[in-house]
Every structure is written in structure tokens, then in C-alpha cells.
Symmetry: D2
Subunit: 368 residues, 4 copies
């Protein structure tokens, strides 16, 4: 990884600010001959797009992706794919005051401290708007994955909002698309709607936890020691705006377990394939996939842009109270769901290519 | 990061297996002119070393580091520093049966599936013994940090073992060295001792949570977007054996907070320096340090090597019950404390060098 | 370096094809606070632009650069700078036949063999048009260099065309801009004009050798062993289309010298600065700059697109004769001059940032 | 590439100084399951070893390689392979004066200027002794290549020494091993022996040009644009001590050719395979292999350590005359032959793995 690039072999470099003319992603290392058009990418962008319901920011962006390079006659050529998204709803206004005040919880202050200047318009480079570029890049990754690992599926959903988590006994992945929270538990989704309505009226916001699972990944993907699959996933999720924690499988819960409880016992099933008695490992042992579901969770802090005044300082060191007006998500975690899926797609493809480089097609060791 | 290398500019490549002749770390990119000898590194290795009390494995390794290159007349030359640690207590025994059986919770099975073969002696490359190489490399990083950021201190400690966490009201960093658990709360340490004595008798093990804090890091260190300080720390901690989760500041707790609660308010203190009202951010905003303490926590799963039988399979697909005899840590989290500190040191130095490359010496923007 | 990225810290990723909608460069790692606008970059693009005289291709491209990100109020922000150049003169025509035939000396055949498909329009990704993106990126590098090393100058010129080389006794850098060949020897330039007029009439082309020198680079820039300044320069020049050889200082001529002849003797001048008796080293010893002029030469093969028929094959394996009609440079080496300067600028800046990271500002050891 | 690492996927990090206890290479990314023992590597080290005839330095090093990791029961495991070579003939002597004087043509002065200190013992890190580590690493690469591309052969030889080049009409690769110069033209070898005997008596040295060819590399290996096969080869060769120029195929000679002369015409042979009429391209078009021989040449400057006095300065800026006593190669180019072969092997394997990652096994497009 570099400053603005992620991936070793499927390399994504994102660029652009919230209120500049455009943003995008340069995707390098994509395998050739993969079917790809804007229509393959756009649905993922639409899923992430703001303004789709009352719980997300009312900024209206078409988020229309343009492929500027790397595709010829509907197929990837193996050369860099430039994905550009024009910004169309960056409202013109006076940023003079905002440019001199630091909003608590935002990167305004650290960008300024680091660089000595910052683009204050809508958060500039630190805006969650950058995640559109990742989602676009992941649209490419998904096309490749559909060719290389057709059985793979990646699913993200929200498992907690504020203090209220889902009931895993009621969990139903088919319910995810049927509520504004990507929630697999309709009852909890209904409660969240009430909670969020109340919060919004007070100009407050709330945090959330997202889970992303990958089903159908073969065993053997990942690599020791500093490119471990779980380390790469942790890094990737932690690059998403507002994420404060990442865990795999049992995660922090593993701290409270004994070794007897935590062991995922192994048996051979009737079809000769491995059957695990549990999945505390979250599908990863020693940084390499087991063939079980890869299970990642990440915590998203409450949106820092709130209507209640918070103490802060100006660039001159004067005390001030900041109220962040504008169009904000009361729970930015909602829109982090498709972003988490995007990062999972990119990391898995990258690791699959790394595996293919070193070991060749598919895993090497067979059991039974 | 590459397979076995971490860091962008302060680059550490570790090598070696648990039961080979030696293991080590190649450290590239170290600034020149830094005082360095084996005596600067050895104390950190001694802190990590097994066999120091009854709660860690009784394997007896001197863990004596040798500097083979990169130092002349007691100063680093700017060229690669090779740190070698000979293995001296790898007991000779018959690995025939172990080589054909997969221990639940271990990387045995995934290494085999990936590569088609594995070094079964003591876990081979996936052994926690590899962490000695990191600790040695971090010994170099600490010497550089002492020169570049003299006020920086890095402190790791255990905050939870099994279901029992410390009482933060009793927290006292000076107590850390006075109990076998690196615990900052002596009362909790005493309880853990009882818990662990009981567990060991049953041949079981237990998980833990470690916290590592860096105090004195200036504002402005870190980088958007895919080299964020928190992302790099998450990746680094997640590469440590048995780690299943990483969080920064409020971490997963942030999911339950509102924006009003989570905001770290800012004021200018009497000395003209910034004062934050809280540190939910864990010292990082937008991937860049705020100047507050950098606070990282990670969860360590219970040791997978236990004396109680667990179901598994052989390489031929036959069902078997595995009991892992030998010298094991009942709570491998204890020895993860110095390893977590080591990773913090390496990541911070690497980021400080990255900052110096792009921006020059020190942060750029001043407030007040 | 990666597939389409060069540089370690000042990282340039280029994208785009000859006849796509646009091409460009994503520049990451640029220091913040540097004055930058399109007007700073455009003159360099204009220098490389085709159609400026009768010796370069008559394709008419405005080559107008747009900065899409990374600059705010005329200053770099430290975040990625996207430089886009729209293609405006890609003539629409039938590529059906071209797509099925391989032009000798072109990358058509190898791209096809590697990827199984290629963009045949104007050479696609392998077109020299890609070098516009490098020149744009180098425009950014030059702005940074002007701040960090104000005394540095980079000058490229042609020293040989076909069998005829310049007379070094007549060499005058101020003459470079006064002939269409960037030639520092006006008499030789006049001869080249005659040679090239004759060649063009026969539909033939010719090779050339370019020299690029950097004056004013301090001693101490570069790094052992696999990021040597000369190795990085060689790699960079060799990535330019049609380049077949690179040399530093005495270069291949050094093979014929004795050690006595080749030694660059050192003395201290009256001003206390080092004075070298010669510069066979080309300003680089052990991969690190000496403070003398950095001197690089590279050979450019004759343009492969010629009007005389050459034997080749079709995608179906049928024998055919290829004549490459269209708008081509009879000596593509001419337009390689500003590209060579661009690569020198990017490599030097990258190495200066690497040096700053590891060692701090400026060289460390003083003599006398 | 990083400071002391080369390769993208087959990554070699070398370490160690001329007169330290040991030097070596850490090889990461090696495919698993490859047969490997010290006996597979040692012959290549023996070929490079000094003291084998009167034309190379009389330093006597066993250059015995030890594999410290990454191999189990004679097979590579896919984890890092540590190759260590102990230094046994570093004569103890007083380096006080050498440490204060800069030898012309050596990296002494630039290392000092860069880092502020240097290891003066035998050139420290800048010694050609480092090339032993590359040759050892290439021994691993060759074992992998023998499995992945059994028909590939890599052959290096000297084509020029001082002013005298071989006669290509007499070229016979089978003669290479039968003279001390790796010369494919026995008559020229005899002349070189006379030349070098004369030079040695005067305490002088001489330069050389080496050619390395790879036969049997399939088409399609390499990658646009900044990982071009020729760019990677140029970078690799230029990292070898004393190399001042690199060229591919016609190389600098291409500058003097016309397009008609330079075109490598293509036909389909009777066996349905491509037949090229010439190989001015040196086996690479657009950075990707054509399937013809890959032909690289590099120029080695005369050994800088000579017995005739040369003007220089001390660390205090005083004028002095330097005579480099000791055991030196009168033509260091001789020992560069196996090193050039080693770099070719490492680069080709690395590119083959990159190709496998992106495109899968083998080239993709078929002709005819």
C-alpha cells in the first residue's frame, strides 16, 4: 500500500476531493479479457449513492461512472482502467469561515497540522465521497471474481446501530435489501428506524457495526506473514472513513473464550469435503483461508457532523463553538455497508492473484 | 507490505522457522548514525522471551541477538541490518505423526492446503517464535525513535484475560512490570493468577485483550488514505499470531455512542497548546495523528495448543482426536504484549519517515 | 515500480490509450504547499507536442492538461493530483484490418500474445502518446524541485541521429532551442535536416541518441543497492518507447578505458568545494550522486512505422506485407528529448524524497 | 524495488558487508515444492568466486552458502529462504588511514557524503562481494525456472575487454567455459590474456562488455509500462557494481539504423511457429518478450582499485595521492559474467510470476 493506492497486484489508486470537478480510481493489474462496461459498475455505485432515503445525506449526486481507459470492445485489455465520476452537486458557497475552523471529530485539524493547508470544501480529500471511487474499482474486481471464482459471494449488512444489535436467531440475509439499513433482521430494522427518527430531530448521530462475509472462497488464499488475509482485510476496512475497529470471526469475543471453546473442530463430511464444527476463526487460520465463510466486522463511529454545538478552536487558536450545518448522514454506517463489501472484493481478488503468482491455479494440498 | 516484509521506508523482512537453525530480521531503510549494539536490542527480546514465569511456555531459548551487518563502530551505516537469533532449544523428536495431523486452530491445515507441504516442526513459520524477529527489529526502531522523537514512549499492557477486565479506575502504568501479566491493575492481576492456575490444571487456555499506547507522538503523522496511521496499526497488530481484532480509541464501543458523546472537543490550554476534552479518536483523525495518545487494543484468541482432545482429521482424511502435548502458553496473550509494543514502534517510525519524506521535518500547520 | 506506476515516494501512475477519450497521470506523494496550476505544466507538454515542425508527426493534439484534484487555491495539498489530457485528434477509421495484422517492430504482436486481445487504435496503450502523461507529471516534479533544489537544472538534447553525431567541441547548450532537433551543435543540426528530408522522401526513418544532464544536484542523492540513482535512471529511460540502451557518464565507452584513464581525480578548489578532474562517472558513484553533473544517454530506435513494405503475419498466421500509413515521426528520437528530461525530473525528485526520509534534509557528511 | 530489495514477487533482499561476519540474501515469494539444497546453489557461487585464476582477486573465500530457512526435507515451503555466506578471509588490518581517504572511482566518498559515516573495511556495503548474495539468490531462481520453464537457458559471456571485441563470426558458446574470461571466441580470449598480463604489470586495470542471453523464454512475458522486461533488465544490470551502460538487442547501434534496416520481419515457419528474420529487438517489443532470444549487454568500467597513484582528498579536505594496494581484479568485468546471469534469472522468474498472476499460466493469444 502507498498513500493513495491499495492492493499488491490488483492495485487501486483513488483520487479526487468532495467538491472538485471529479474523483475516480485508477485500477492497474486487472486481468485481461474480462467483460466490463459502465453498466457492470453502476449498480454498485447506485447502492452506495447518497440521497436514497431519509436516513442518508440529501446531497444529490448522479455518481455516473465513466470508463476512460483499459477497455476495448467491452473487454479489459490488461492495461490501467481509469474510472471517473464527476461531481455535480457540490454547492457553491463561502468556505471562508469553515476554512478557519476545525470541526471536532473531523480530519480538518490533522490535515492542516500535517500539510499546512487543506481543501475545506466538503471535507476535501477526507470526505466519505472518496468511497465512491473504491466502490467503482470494486465493480471491476467483482467482474474478475465472477470469472475466476464463480461461486464466491460477498454480502454486507449492519448488525448494530447505537446500543441495539440484531438478534442472530432471526437473521435472514434475504431481508437485507428490504430495509434502509441493510439489516438482516427486520424487527431490529424497525427499531432502528424509530431510534434514528428520534436522533435526527435532535441533530445528533449514532455509530454502527457492519459485518461482511465472503462465501465460497477456496482454502489456501492469503499469505504469511505481513500479507495475511486477515491483516489485509483489517487494513482495508480501517481505511474506510470513520471506522474505529475491525475483527475477524470471534474477534474481541475470543478474548473471553477458553481454548476448548474456541477450537473449530474438523471432520470430513459424507461428500469427502472438510466440515468445521464452528467458525470462531472467521475463515482464516495463520492468515490463509480455510474454505469456511470469511467473516469480518467493523465499527463505524457516529457521524461527526452534528447540529448540536461542540467546542473547538479556530486556526488562530480562538475558542469557538461548531455546529455543522448541511446535508449529513445521521448514521454514516449505513452507507459504509457497500463500501465494506467493496473492500472485501478488492482484497480477495488481490490475494487470489498473489496466490496464483506464487503457487499457480488453485490450492496445492489435498486432504483425504 | 509484501509476504514477509512490513513497512514502507523502515522495512522489516523476517525469516526463519521455529525449529530451524536460526531466525531473524533484515531491517532496511534505517537512518544512519544511530547508536546501536546488541545490548540495545537484547532487553526487548528478554522481555518477550519464553520461560520467564510459570504462565509462559517452558521452552528455554537464550534469544541472543547477533548483528551481522549494517553497523560500524557502534553506529548504523544506513545499509541493511541483519539481526539473527539462533534456535537452541528445538528438541529433536519424531514429527512423523504431527506432520500428518492437523491441529485445530493452528495454521497447519491452511499452510498445507496452500503450499502442498509445510514444516511441521513446532509450527514452522507460523510459530509465535517468529515474533522474536519483530521484537529485535523494533529494538532498532526504538533507537531511531529515541533520536528523532525523544519524548515518545510506547507502553503495552493487558486489559482483559478471559471474561475478566481491569478496573480502569485502578489503572497504574507503573504496576505493569510488577506482575507476570503486564497488568496495570494489581488487583485484577491477582485474580488472573488464580484463574490461570485453575485453567492450566485442566489443560485449557484463555484469550486476552492487549492495549498499547504511544505518548508524545506529534500531530501530523500518518497519511491519507491507504496508509492511514490507524490502518497501518490495524494491519500490523493483525499480523501477530492469534490476534482476531484491533480497535483504535473508542473502537467497537463507538458503535454504541452518539455523535454528541463521541466528539472530542478542542480547546487551547493556558500554555497555548491544544487540549482535547476526551480521546474517543484514540489519537488519530483521518488517518493522521492528533498529538493525543495513540491508543490501540487487540484481541488475542486462546492458545490453540491444549491438552484436551479436539476432533480433527489427518492428511489422508481420517478422523482423529488431537491433544497438543508440549510446552505451551496457557495465555499466549501475555507474550503478545511486548510484540504489540514492537509493532507500534515500527509503524510509528515508518510513518515518521514517510512524513519527513513528503513534508519535511515536523508538522507543517500551526494553530494559534 | 508496478505495471503502470513509477517512483517510490513521488509516484506517478499513467493511464489511457492513444485513441481513447483521454489519458493522464495520477501523481501521489507530492509535497504540500507547492504552487501549481495548469500554466506550470502546459509549456512542457507544448514542447513534446506533435505537429510542431515537419520532422514530427502531423497529428494535431492540443495536449491541454486539466488538473482534476490535489490542488487548492493554487497550491498542492499533498493528496493525489490527477492530470487529464483529452484526445481530440484520434481520427475515426476502420481498424478491422489493422487489428488482424502485426506491424514489425511494434508491440502489437506481444500485447496480443500476452493478453489475447489489444486495442489496435493507434497502438493503444503502447503508443508514444502515453509519454504526454509523463511529461505532465514531470511538470509537477519540476515545481517541487524548483522549491527544494532551486539550483537544479535539467537539459536534454540530441547527440546523434543515424550515423552522424555532434561535434562536442562545438557544443553549445544555448543552441538547443533554435533548431527542430534539440541539437546543441548547429552545424550538425543542419546536416540532420538534410538527412531527414532525404529519408522522409523514401518513407524510411532513423534512430537517435539523446543525452540528458542534471546540473546542480547535491552530493548524496541515491541509495544502495537496488535503488541506485543510475539504476533508477536506466529503468526510467528504458521505459520510454523505442529506447534500446541507456548509459551513464562514460557508459559503454568505459569498457575500452583503463583504470588510470577512467579515474575521476578529486581536489579541493579554492572555494573549499570539491573539484573533479573529469566526469567519467557521470555524476554517480556507488549509486549515489557526487555533486558533478548527472549525465545520462539513451538510444532510440528508428520509428517502426514506415512506408516501405515489411514482411509480417496476420492473426491467422498468414504471410502479409505491412506498410504503415498515417502520420508518423521519421525520427521519433526528436520527441523523446522532452520525455527524457521528464523522466530525469521525476527520478531525481523521488530520490531526493527518499534521501530526506532516511537521512533528513541535505547530505550528512562534510569534507574539509 | 526498495533500497536493498529487488523483484516484485520473487523478492530478494541482500545484506552484509565485505568484511563483516557474513552476508546473504533473504528470498521471499519463492514458489513452494521446489527441490532445493545448498548443493543446487553452490556451483553458481563457485563460478563467481574470486581467486580461481590469476586474472581475479586473490582473496580466498570459500563462499559456502548455508540455507537457514524456507526449506523442509529438500523442498521449498513458500516461506522466506535465508541464504547466508560467512566471510572467512577478511584480513584484519588497520583501516584508520583508509577510513579518512577517498579512493577515486569508489563509492567511499558518496557513502560518506550521504550518510556521514561508512564502513571502510574493503568497501563495506559497496564492495562487489555483495554480488555473492545475488548469485546465491539466483541459484534459487534457477531451480524454480527449471520447473516452470524447463527449456529456458541463460548464458553470459564477455564480448569486449578494453578496446578489443570478439569476432562474432567465430562465436562459439561451447568455448565459454574453456578460458578464464568466459569468452565465446578462443582467439580473442588469447589476445585478452596477453593484454591483461601486460596491464597487471603496470598496476592498471581495464573495462569490459558482457552479454547475457536467455533462450527459450516464451512470448508474452513482461508488462507495460513501468515494469517492461527491458526496463527491469536494465535496472537489474545497472545495480551491479561498476556497470555504466545497458542495452537490449541492437542497443546503441539502433541509433545508427534506418527503420527499414531495424525492422525484424516476421514469418510463419513450416512447423507453424513464428520465425523472425532478425533480432534487433533483442527479444523484447513494447516491454514484452517476443519468444526470440532475450539479448542484454552491459558495460563494466575498469576496476577503480589500481596501483598507480591518483589524486584525491582526505576527509579533512587535504590533497593526497591514493594507491589502492591489496588484492584486486585487473578486469572486474570477468567476475561480472555470472552476476549478469544471476540478475537475468531473477528478473525473468519475477516477470513470469507477474504474468501468471495477471494472465494465468502461459501466454494468452495464439497466432495461426
Amino acid at each position: 500500500m502507498s498513500f493513495n493506492t491499495f492492493g499488491h497486484l490488483f492495485r487501486v489508486t483513488t483520487w479526487g476531493e468532495s467538491h472538485g470537478p471529479a474523483l475516480g480510481a485508477t485500477v492497474d493489474g486487472c486481468p485481461p479479457g474480462i467483460a466490463l462496461s459502465e453498466a457492470d459498475i453502476q449498480p454498485w455505485l447506485d447502492k452506495r449513492k447518497p440521497g436514497q432515503n431519509k436516513y442518508t445525506t440529501q446531497r444529490r449526486e448522479a455518481d455516473a461512472v465513466e470508463i476512460l481507459s483499459g477497455v476495448y470492445e467491452g473487454r479489459t485489455t490488461g492495461t490501467p482502467i481509469q474510472l471517473m465520476i464527476r461531481n455535480t452537486d457540490q454547492r457553491s458557497k463561502d468556505y471562508g469561515e469553515i476554512a478557519r475552523t476545525f470541526r471536532p471529530g473531523h480530519a480538518d485539524i490533522t490535515y492542516y497540522q500535517k500539510y499546512g493547508l487543506r481543501d475545506p470544501r466538503g471535507g476535501g480529500r477526507s470526505s466519505a465521497r472518496e468511497t465512491a471511487a473504491r466502490v467503482a474499482a470494486a465493480g471491476v474486481a467483482r467482474q474478475v471474481l465472477a470469472t475466476l471464482v464463480p461461486d464466491l459471494s460477498i454480502t454486507g449488512y449492519m448488525v448494530q446501530m447505537g446500543p441495539r444489535g440484531i438478534d442472530r436467531a432471526r437473521m435472514d440475509l434475504s431481508a437485507i435489501g428490504e430495509n434502509p439499513f441493510w439489516c438482516p433482521d427486520p424487527e431490529t430494522a424497525a427499531s432502528w428506524a424509530e431510534d434514528l427518527d428520534a436522533l435526527r430531530k435532535t441533530g445528533n448521530s449514532v455509530g454502527a457495526t457492519i459485518e461482511v462475509i465472503a462465501q465460497g472462497l477456496p482454502a489456501g488464499i492469503g499469505a504469511p506473514l505481513y500479507a495475511k488475509l486477515d491483516s489485509e482485510l483489517a487494513a482495508a476496512m480501517m481505511t474506510i472513513n470513520a471506522v474505529k475497529g475491525v475483527e475477524i470471526g470471534a474477534g474481541f469475543g475470543a478474548a473471553a473464550l477458553t481454548g476448548v471453546e474456541n477450537a473449530d473442530e474438523i471432520r470430513i463430511g459424507e461428500d469427502g469435503r472438510l466440515v468445521y464444527g464452528s467458525n470462531h476463526a472467521g475463515g482464516v487460520l495463520g492468515g490463509i483461508s480455510t474454505g469456511q465463510d470469511v467473516v469480518v466486522r467493523f465499527a463505524v463511529k457516529p457521524t461527526s457532523s452534528i447540529l448540536q454545538p461542540r467546542q473547538s478552536v479556530t486556526i488562530d487558536g480562538e475558542a469557538t463553538d461548531v455546529v455543522t450545518k448541511g446535508r449529513h448522514d445521521p448514521c454514516v454506517g449505513i452507507r459504509a455497508v457497500p463500501v465494506g463489501e467493496a473492500m472485501m472484493a478488492c482484497v480477495l481478488l488481490d490475494q487470489i492473484l498473489l496466490h496464483r503468482a506464487q503457487v499457480g491455479e488453485g490450492p496445492r494440498g489435498r486432504i483425504g
